[in-house]
Symmetry: C2
Subunit: 224 residues, 2 copies
DNA sequence: CAAATATAATAGTATTACTATCATTTATGC
DNA sequence: GCATAAATGATAGTAATACTATTATATTTG
């Protein structure tokens, strides 16, 4: 993926002014990723972001209506990019089992190298996805946000992996349930490991969570 | 459990004044359960609760510092009560496999009959747990809240079921990961079914989620 | 029935999450 | 290179939230 300079396209419904159309817009995105990481999504405000980028709050509001919209933009960016990663990792791989395993790796691990495809720090962004993304859809106005396509990129990822599951076992009845359980589970287990270790197990090596879910899906689909 | 009149004891760290020590306290609990259900946790405020029970905001603050503390109280109540339910459902059942299956049913399904053990509406409370409980621990101050035992009741439930898993398969390395994945997964799948159906599958009957996770755990632990 | 305790009534503050206005800077088309 | 449009900056203001404080009035309890 390195040096490919792909463009992540985000649906215009998800912003009021396109962030990558201006320097300010790009600063809003990249600084917000830093700040949300540092202080968590709740403590993050447009006022603080404004101070950090030396621009008034009101300028930020021209790009996003509120911080939830910004979070949805970030998650959409991440999932759209992750769909590219899935495609890259699985093209020309004949075995669906092998493709599935590759996908599980990608969705259960935070990003470790910045591919530098843009002004977005993918390492920090993936941290946000793991620890904060559920706040994008666990909200009063899910229905309304869903209607404008806020979660389409996430759905596409789930659908794409579910398709591989169906290729392996066409009779399996709950591919989406399985994949979304794994994605959300991996996010939460990482959070538990950091903050509530009694809810998870001693993590021997950093791939323990990935191995757990790989093993799980292989057992469920009878892959040896 | 009906008519047993058990007392759910909540650690004093989790409130500033004991809610079941007064009529007002009990009203705060039972009305907040109703209101959080109706409007969601974000829209819920102590001001609205005060209006609903005809008491000033400031009186509510004598029982709980803020609405997050109240939510933690409610989740602790639920998990303490659920631990009783687990014990009741599994005592005198010799087979650990059978006990495990009973536990999976209890943790993956919302409550359907109000056992009437108190002023708490358990049906509505379980709805809150399924849709809002992650907001109790997905917050800036997890560490601090964890230190005072805010999540002990939840941990006890996970531990108790993990013990059964270990009884069945003493070599299994990730019992807590497995159980917390199932609990959190069941909550989320129900939420997805209601709000983001593309992330889950057509639910044929209302036990589909329970059956999915039962099947999952049985496969993983090689129970036929 | 007195003293202690709990609750009600009311007011006030800092912060958040915006909206509005107008001046100034920057970009763009000719 | 200049006129015009568009974007941004500077500043102010508002309603709601999440509290804290104070004093009066009930209610409980010993």
């Amino acid at each position: 993926m390195k040096n490919l300079q792909i463009q992540i396209e985000i649906s215009p419904e998800l912003y009021t002014k396109k962030p990558d159309s201006s320097g300010l817009g790009r600063e809003i995105i990249s600084k917000s990723i830093e700040l949300i990481n540092e202080m968590g999504f709740e403590a993050f405000t447009f006022k603080k972001l404004g101070i950090a980028i030396n621009s008034p709050e009101s300028s930020i509001y021209r790009y996003f209506n509120n911080k939830q919209s910004l979070l949805i933009y970030l998650t959409s960016w991440y999932w759209t990019w992750t769909e590219y990663r899935l495609v890259f990792a699985t093209t020309n791989v004949a075995s669906p089992e092998e493709r599935l395993n590759k996908c599980i790796e990608i969705i259960t691990q935070p990003v470790e190298v910045d591919d530098d495809i843009s002004y977005v720090n993918e390492i920090l962004l993936s941290e946000i996805i793991f620890s904060e993304s559920l706040k994008a859809y666990h909200t009063k106005n899910v229905a309304e946000k869903n209607k404008i396509g806020s979660f389409q990129a996430y759905k596409n990822v789930v659908q794409r992996i579910s398709d591989i599951v169906m290729e392996i076992n066409p009779l399996f009845e709950y591919p989406h349930m399985l994949i979304s359980t794994i994605i959300e589970g991996a996010h939460q287990q990482k959070y538990f490991a950091e903050h509530l270790p009694a809810l998870t197990d001693k993590i021997k090596d950093k791939n323990a969570i990935t191995e757990f879910y790989k093993e799980m899906i292989n057992q469920i689909l009878n892959i040896k």
